[in-house]
Every structure is written in structure tokens, then in C-alpha cells.
């Protein structure tokens, strides 16, 4: 019996053994059916013609696939291909480098967009939780938890206590975070456990600062302004997952797991001094670092051995003369971005962070950082301290090369109009106390004046921790950023460069919860 017929018949017997008694008939039947199969001859000309058409079509397919973009950021709107294309291309390059096997076309992985929602579409900013809970802070800081804070009315209580309590006395002051309203007088600092009461520490002579702005505020014409919420990131990773699924990992069957998705990809260049790249599909970010196992700071090579250092000309400590100009540092970064297809069109002019010069000019760091500030609606995007947020770059000034890049991020948001505070009096009152996230621990009877410069209307990034998800919701809200232009000598916290005053209604009365006094110092 022909093997083909035999296999078909055996299959039938497996299904119904009683058919065995009709073996002869079955064999004849299957044989006749097979004989009845049309004898098809494929036209060679047709095959060739279709092949030519397909080859032509492959070129069209390769050149097509233009990304869609809708948004409100004036700059973003012009840059459909901007960061998303750059990120996608970076991904392509990375895979090429790492595998040398698969030439990958650009897929639109990280796209930029803004979607306008209805008014007040997100949350009531008077009720969000703008800092982590007490346990989280305790865990993160290593400092005792302390008494829980009241929430929306915290600022009012602090002001009242500050004004009324004499030095050395005990005041109602919430040092820790989250939980119920403080119900008994006292202060806790560094004492673990919620609700713990501890004596208030001395003021160490610190005054209470009064932040004064003597100019006029820029006029806000709109009653409502957009608030931007970072859109929960979802990535179409099907193509990459398909590629992964086609590999036999030998140690396990990847296909046996259901609903696998990509969270992170870590890639590294083969070169010893190459870059390691991390792609966070959930966060929509890419970061890269010069590989640490090969990148040893010159000053560390000798492990403090003075003789080694003196003998090794290239590891001598840097001097101020070795520090390139800001323009040179930025040029190194720009060249790196250009080489790797990282576009900065939606970002403002890069700025070198020279804060280190304030503290020491004896020790020159090997790396200096640059920020490419993100722009939203033509306004600076800043953090809660008024510092710019955007793509960060570390440049190794000894090697004159980029050491790391972070916050290379897909900019995708939902936006919604919210009512804004237009009362100059209310804005200046909040500024006077140090701004939205300021906590005063000084002597209320000793007032020192801090002078503020003209504010800029910016977008301040805040987090809402009140949700149940692992990730806090991230918002950009309009805020005035007042630069500190003159400070008294007694003001030791020189890290504070700005006073920030959010103008979204409700948020001005809902500041982050106080940081323990010990941490402040």
C-alpha cells in the first residue's frame, strides 16, 4: 500500500477502529480520491511576473509607514519624526550591533503625542498626595518616621505654629508624613513609629526666611490653562516578541508562557569600552552608560596610590585648566547625539551644570553634566525645585566623551484645562513663605529677607502617589518659578535656587508633606 494512503487510513483507524473491516474499500476509496487530484502546472511566466511585482512592492513597503502625531506642543507638533524616530532608530542600531544578524527596519516604538481631554479631566489637585507615605519615606531615608501630618491644612498649621511658638518652646509641627491629623502638641524628629512625640530640636540659630518679590507679576490672561498628565505607557512589542519567540532558548520553552511582554531590554556594544543601553518599555525611556567594567575613572586606577598617580601621567588629578568650556562640553554631547540619531528639537538650549564650582575648585570631577531642558507649550519644564527637567548627559571631560545619557524619553501626554489662580496676592503670599514645597524650621522671631527675581511661567512636574498602582501619576502643572537673586549670609541651604508657586487651583493648598528636620539640615 502506498505510504500516503496508509497514513491516511491509519489516521482513520485511530479515530474509528471499526473501519478496519472495510480495509480494502477504504484503500480503494483513498486511492481514487488521490488519483482525482488535478494535475496542476503553474505558469512559469506568471510566477516570474508576480515575483517582479513583489520585489517592487517590497521597496514600497520599506519606504512607507509614516508615523502619526497629534498634539498641542507647538514644537512637538512640528516634529512627527522627532524623538520617536530617533529612539526607534537607536533601537535598530542597538539590535544590529548586538546581533550582527538582523537588519531591522524602524518600528514606531516610542512616539510623542498630546491628547486633549475635557476640562478638569484628571484629579482634584487639592486632594492628591504629592509625596510618598510615611513608611516609604522612612524606608528611603533611614530617618525615623515620626508623627503623621495633617493634609490640606498643613501649611496653615505650620504658619500658625511658627508665629505663635516662642523659641525653645514646643510647637505643633509635623515632621513626618501621611496619616491622620496630629492631635496633640509636640514634634517628632527621627523617632520611628507613627504618632511618636519627641521634643523639638533647637533652631541652631536659623532665622525664618521671608521671600520677597518687589516687581509685578507677568499677567495671566487665561482663566484656565492646560495641565499635562504623562500617559500610561503601552508599547506595541509584538514584532520584537515574535522575533524572540522564534529563538529556541534550549533551557526553557518561551512559548509555554502566556501573554509575555517586554519590560526592559539591555544591550551593550561589543567593544570593551562600548556603551550599555537600557530600554524601558513601560516607562518609555532609554538610557545608556559607558560600560562600567571597562570604564574605570582614571583617578581610580591607582586606588589612591600617590606613586602610581605620579607615575601615570594620564591619571593626575584634573585642574581647572583641564575643564573644557561649556561650549566644548556641549559640542561633545551634540556630536554624540548626532552620531546616534538622538534629536533634541523639542528641547531647549542645553545647559552645563556648574554647581560643583560653588563647593570646591580643588577637586575637579571627571564628569560634568548637561541638561537638555524639555519645553512644553514654549515654557520650561521644571522639577519641584524649579530646576529644568529633560535629557541628562554626563560628559567625561578627561576622555572628552559622553559617559552616560538618561531620561531620553517618549513625550506622550493627555492634557486638560484647569482653572488657575490669578490673584497676585495669593501667589505672592505663597512665594513669601518659600513657595509650595518649602518648610521653615527657623526661629519665628528672627526674620531674614530673601530677594526674588522676576518669575517665569513654567510647567512644574509633580507626582500623585494616591493611586494604587506601582507608578505614581506624573503631572506637569503651570507654576511661577521665582529665582533667588539675593540671600542672606545665614542661609546655608544654597541648594535652593528658586521659589516655586503652582497656580493650578487647589494645589497651592496641598504641598508635599514636611521633610524631617534632620534631613533638612
Amino acid at each position: 500500500m502506498d505510504k500516503e494512503i496508509q497514513k491516511i487510513i491509519e489516521d482513520l483507524y485511530d479515530m474509528d477502529p471499526s473501519l478496519k473491516k472495510y480495509e480494502k474499500e477504504m484503500e480503494q476509496l483513498i486511492k481514487r480520491l488521490i488519483e482525482a487530484k488535478p494535475d496542476i502546472k503553474l505558469n512559469a511566466e506568471f510566477v516570474e511576473n508576480l515575483k517582479r511585482q513583489l520585489i517592487q512592492r517590497t521597496k514600497d513597503v520599506s519606504e512607507a509607514d509614516i508615523p502619526k502625531f497629534s498634539g498641542q506642543f507647538a514644537v512637538l507638533r512640528k516634529l512627527v519624526y522627532g524623538l520617536s524616530g530617533a529612539l526607534a532608530m537607536a533601537l535598530v542600531i542597538m539590535v544590529l550591533i548586538s546581533s550582527n544578524l538582523i537588519p531591522i527596519k524602524s518600528h514606531k516604538v516610542f512616539e510623542n503625542y498630546v491628547t486633549q481631554k475635557g476640562d478638569n479631566a484628571f484629579v482634584d489637585f487639592g486632594n492628591i498626595q504629592t509625596s510618598q507615605d510615611g513608611q516609604a519615606l522612612y524606608n528611603n531615608s533611614g530617618v525615623g518616621g515620626g508623627a503623621p501630618a495633617s493634609e490640606a491644612n498643613y501649611m496653615a498649621k505650620t504658619e500658625e505654629a511658627t508665629v505663635s511658638a516662642p523659641m525653645g518652646d514646643v510647637a505643633v509641627r509635623s515632621m513626618a508624613v501621611s496619616g491622620d491629623t496630629v492631635s496633640s502638641p509636640g514634634v517628632s524628629e527621627g523617632s520611628s513609629g507613627s504618632g511618636a512625640i519627641a521634643p523639638m530640636p533647637p533652631y541652631y540659630g536659623d532665622p525664618t526666611y521671608k521671600y520677597v518679590y518687589k516687581g509685578t507679576l507677568p499677567e495671566i490672561t487665561e482663566d484656565k490653562m492646560n495641565v499635562y498628565k504623562y500617559s500610561t505607557y503601552t508599547t506595541d512589542d509584538s514584532s520584537l516578541m515574535n522575533v524572540l519567540a522564534s529563538f529556541d532558548f534550549n533551557l526553557l520553552n518561551l512559548k509555554s508562557f502566556e501573554g509575555l511582554k517586554l519590560d526592559y531590554i539591555n544591550l551593550s556594544e561589543k567593544a570593551d569600552d562600548g556603551y550599555a543601553i537600557t530600554i524601558d518599555f513601560n516607562g518609555g525611556t532609554i538610557s545608556m552608560n559607558k560600560r562600567m567594567e571597562y570604564w574605570v575613572l582614571a583617578t581610580e586606577k591607582c586606588a589612591g596610590d600617590a606613586k602610581c598617580i605620579s607615575n601615570a601621567g594620564d591619571v593626575k588629578p584634573l585642574t581647572l585648566a583641564d575643564v573644557p568650556s561649556d561650549e566644548e562640553i556641549i559640542k561633545i554631547s551634540d556630536s554624540f547625539f548626532e552620531k546616534h540619531g538622538i534629536k533634541t528639537d523639542i528641547y531647549g538650549k542645553p545647559v552645563v551644570n556648574n554647581e560643583w564650582k560653588k563647593y570646591s575648585q580643588d577637586f575637579i570631577p571627571d564628569t560634568l553634566s548637561i541638561i537638555y531642558p524639555l519645553m512644553m507649550d514654549g515654557k520650561n519644564a521644571v522639577d519641584e525645585n524649579g530646576n529644568p527637567v529633560g535629557i541628562g548627559v554626563n560628559v567625561n571631560i578627561r576622555e572628552k566623551e559622553v559617559a552616560s545619557v538618561w531620561e531620553l524619553r517618549a513625550q506622550r501626554y493627555d492634557s486638560s484645562l484647569y482653572e488657575v489662580e490669578k490673584s497676585n496676592e495669593a501667589i505672592l503670599k505663597l512665594a513669601e513663605n518659600g513657595g509650595w514645597n518649602s518648610f521653615q524650621y527657623g526661629d519665628p522671631n528672627n526674620i531674614a529677607e530673601v530677594e526674588l527675581g522676576e518669575p517665569t511661567l513654567s510647567y512644574m512636574k509633580i507626582y500623585d502617589y494616591s493611586g494604587n498602582s506601582f507608578r505614581a501619576d506624573e503631572y506637569f502643572v503651570p507654576a511661577y518659578i521665582f529665582p533667588i537673586v539675593k540671600r542672606p549670609d545665614s542661609m546655608v541651604d544654597t541648594w535652593k535656587q528658586n521659589v516655586v508657586v503652582p497656580i493650578v487651583k487647589g494645589l497651592e493648598n496641598n504641598p508635599p508633606q514636611a521633610v524631617p528636620y534632620g534631613m533638612m539640615r
Binding site: 491516511i8 479515530m15 474499500e25 487530484k37 503553474l42 517590497t58 520599506s62 537588519p103 515574535n242
Partner: protein
């Protein structure tokens, strides 16, 4: 370059490798379509449409769900249905068995008569029964592949095939008698 590598490259965007997949599969796909149309020009048109669509959708192909061949067959099957939906509105879109047969089949007269007689029996089957018989017997597809192509379960494909063959066997006497007269 292996077929699997070509598939991975295509999924990854390097569709220039698609020509290799075309060369490997144009014959079976055309045959599969021809079995369902019995008309050369129609089969060629639908084969063209099938490979064009496969090229455009290759990046959505999921090797976890089906083999590449099965995926192509699914596209071809849908194209056949679409073709008759748009060209033969009054016709049962799955029953294209009545379309012109034999004109481009180069066989001798006796064989043609034998084949036609068997096809007459196939023609009496329900379209879904006939599809499974053709896929299993003419095209040599496994029941798993047939299930993936037709969207049925493997068990239901096996059961339908068994019942269909059983029915044909019941008509065997008539068929045998017919063949006897043809051969003699």
C-alpha cells in the same frame, strides 16, 4: 539562508527576503487556491493577492500561533472567500466547486472521465467536508494544519473527515461500478 531566518528578517522589517519565501510557497499556495476555484486565471489572481497581502502584513505574523505556511493558507482561504463574495454575490461563497473544471488540466480523456466521476462525488459533499478532504488527501495537510487553516478544532476536523470518508465509502459500490464501466 534558512526559511526561518528569512521569516525573522521579514518580521523585523527586512522584507527584501520575502522573495525567498515566495519562491518556497508559490506552488503550494497556488495549488491550494486552484483546488478551491478550479480556474487558472482566478487562481492566479488570488495567488497574486495572497502574496501581496502577506508582504504587507508580514510584520503581524506571529510564529507562536501558526506556521508561516498555515498563515499563508489562511490568507489565501480568506481571499478566495472575498473573491467570490465580490464576484458572485448570489453564490454560496464557500462553494466554488461548480466553477469551470478541467480546461487547463492536461490529462487524457479516460483519466479525465475517471477524475470527473470522483469529483462528482466530491461535489455532492458539503463545502466544509470537501475542504477537509481536499486539504487532507490532495494537499497532504495534517489535521493540526487543517484546523489552523479552517479555524476549527483539530478534533472536529478529524471527526468531519472520518464521517465524510465513511459516507463516501457507503457510496463505494456505486463508485466502483462506475469506475469498472469507465475502465472497461
Amino acid at each position: 539562508m534558512s526559511e526561518q531566518t528569512a521569516i525573522i528578517q521579514c518580521i523585523s522589517g527586512n522584507v527584501s527576503e520575502f522573495a525567498k519565501l515566495y519562491e518556497a510557497y508559490v506552488q503550494p499556495v497556488y495549488r491550494f487556491i486552484y483546488y478551491k476555484t478550479h480556474h487558472r486565471e482566478t487562481a492566479e489572481d488570488i495567488t497574486s493577492a495572497t502574496f501581496m497581502k502577506a508582504l504587507e502584513k508580514i510584520q503581524t505574523f506571529n510564529p507562536n500561533k501558526a506556521s508561516f505556511k498555515t498563515w499563508l493558507y489562511q490568507i489565501a482561504r480568506n481571499n478566495v472567500i472575498d473573491h467570490y463574495r465580490s464576484h458572485k454575490e448570489s453564490m454560496d461563497i464557500e462553494d466554488v466547486w461548480d466553477i469551470n473544471t478541467g480546461e487547463n488540466i492536461e490529462t487524457d480523456t479516460d483519466t479525465k472521465m475517471k477524475l470527473d466521476s470522483v469529483r462528482e462525488y466530491l461535489k455532492k459533499l458539503k463545502p466544509e467536508q470537501r475542504e477537509i478532504v481536499v486539504l487532507r488527501v490532495w494537499d497532504g495537510r495534517s489535521f493540526q494544519e487543517i484546523a489552523e487553516i479552517t479555524g476549527k478544532t483539530e478534533a472536529s476536523c478529524k471527526m468531519m473527515f472520518k464521517r465524510t470518508v465513511d459516507k463516501l465509502r457507503g457510496d463505494m459500490a456505486v463508485l466502483a461500478l462506475l469506475i469498472y464501466f469507465i475502465n472497461n
